[in-house]
Symmetry: C2
Subunit: 297 residues, 2 copies
Amino acid sequence: MLRRARRTITILRTRKDLDGWRAQQSEVGLVPTMGALHAGHADLMRRAAAENDIAIASIFVNPTQFAPGEDLEKYPRTFERDVEVLRDAGVAACFAPTVEDMYGDGDGVAVLPPPRFDALSEGAARPGHFSGVCTVVAKLWNAVRPKRSYFGQKDAMQCAVLRSLRRDLAFDLEVVVCDTARADDGLALSSRNAYLDADERAAAPVVFRALGAARDAWRAQAGPGPAAALRSAAEATLAAEPLVRRVEYVSVADYDTMAELDVVPPPDGGAEPRAILSVAVRLGNVRLIDNLPLRGN
Amino acid sequence: MLRRARRTITILRTRKDLDGWRAQQSEVGLVPTMGALHAGHADLMRRAAAENDIAIASIFVNPTQFAPGEDLEKYPRTFERDVEVLRDAGVAACFAPTVEDMYGDGDGVAVLPPPRFDALSEGAARPGHFSGVCTVVAKLWNAVRPKRSYFGQKDAMQCAVLRSLRRDLAFDLEVVVCDTARADDGLALSSRNAYLDADERAAAPVVFRALGAARDAWRAQAGPGPAAALRSAAEATLAAEPLVRRVEYVSVADYDTMAELDVVPPPDGGAEPRAILSVAVRLGNVRLIDNLPLRGN
């Protein structure tokens, strides 16, 4: 396998610096992040570096996507280590602006996601979150003008919202969604896993097990079946773990629209998802999300 | 003077057709319009054709920028004549999509202007208007990817909002604002002038006379002066015209931010505007707006 590791990486601190860098590039791949990079991010980085002439990552803890009461202040910041991850993955440049450079005095244009997302799982659980995501990603897409922009499947609704952003506002680029990276015990990699204490970390794989229980129930379907049965299977698994303080949602939704389903089509053996399972729980004080597209047999 | 009149013009009915056309062009100038083109639009078109490799105009009566109760249904539609105006001005292509092509089922991404505009003159008078403008212009800018986009000074707050849109979302283009085109009697050209009956049309220059009265008051200032005095001068002129049914606002604002001023700096003889006067009135059932940057002596 071709290793595109670089000896140097260009750190860009302002939109002006970014403009100067961008003017010298042709086909760019972009990976937007909030830093605290893990192996899942590294997968995105390597893919962006492999599929484009040059890759850039952004590291920006975006204040507008934290819902009221969320963890903006204590969000993990590990910039020096993040830059090593980028360098090792073959990323050529890192855009790491200040909040002021991105938002000025804060009285700026905002981008709202389609209203249908407001009532759905992550949209309902985190008021204002996807508006912040759309706003910052629109800024990044226009400033970087990538040919492809990479996101992880773990944030399934974010991926759906950003596919809408691209299509509705006619951005001239491709949204590439990469499979969720997992620890050996199944826990989806996430920057927020750093908040888990030892007991919580040991209990956290219950989220993936819950998704697996619902998938097993789906695989047993001979025809269309009630989504409620899949939700129940996941909820029963989560209920058996005392450290799960709250289940925010267990969702069985259409893969493209993320609309909740009443009836789930049965397995058809194909590669196209027939639906998507999503879960959000509070484990102690940490919010964990995960999902599993239902495909195959 | 170079006449760039063309014998043919390409009519593009869908975003897909537009993509195909765009892929063949390098440097594009864009003039977004809602049609019902007049001599003011023709000025923008000629300038776009002269300053860029190729010019495209959009004709799209954008439903999302009509505030509740406004004139979407009766907005003038004169497509065949508009195409002649474009051809005569040297415009190469006309993008005239359907509402469905631009908005799908309507449950899409929206772009909100900076909150400061909500409370200001046009923003307060037309709830939701500038969100519709920002949304459709963001779509057009991404779909056309122009180097320059042209707008008329007559819609002064629209120009200020779109300068914010460009800056805040980092669009890689120049917003070019062109002087207001006027009839010989001073009336600013506008597609909505078509609604005026003969008596109203005869009375309509009162708007420009009101702006002139306020400017005269400004020119008499030896030092900083109260904005209220300029507003009073305009209001007195408007009050003398019986066909003026309602004065929506008389605004004396900072030229860049459009924030209302209490104190206006005096003339300094320079070309930079020291402030901007804006007026909106109802003349019969027709809403007219106009403005005058305060510059020079």
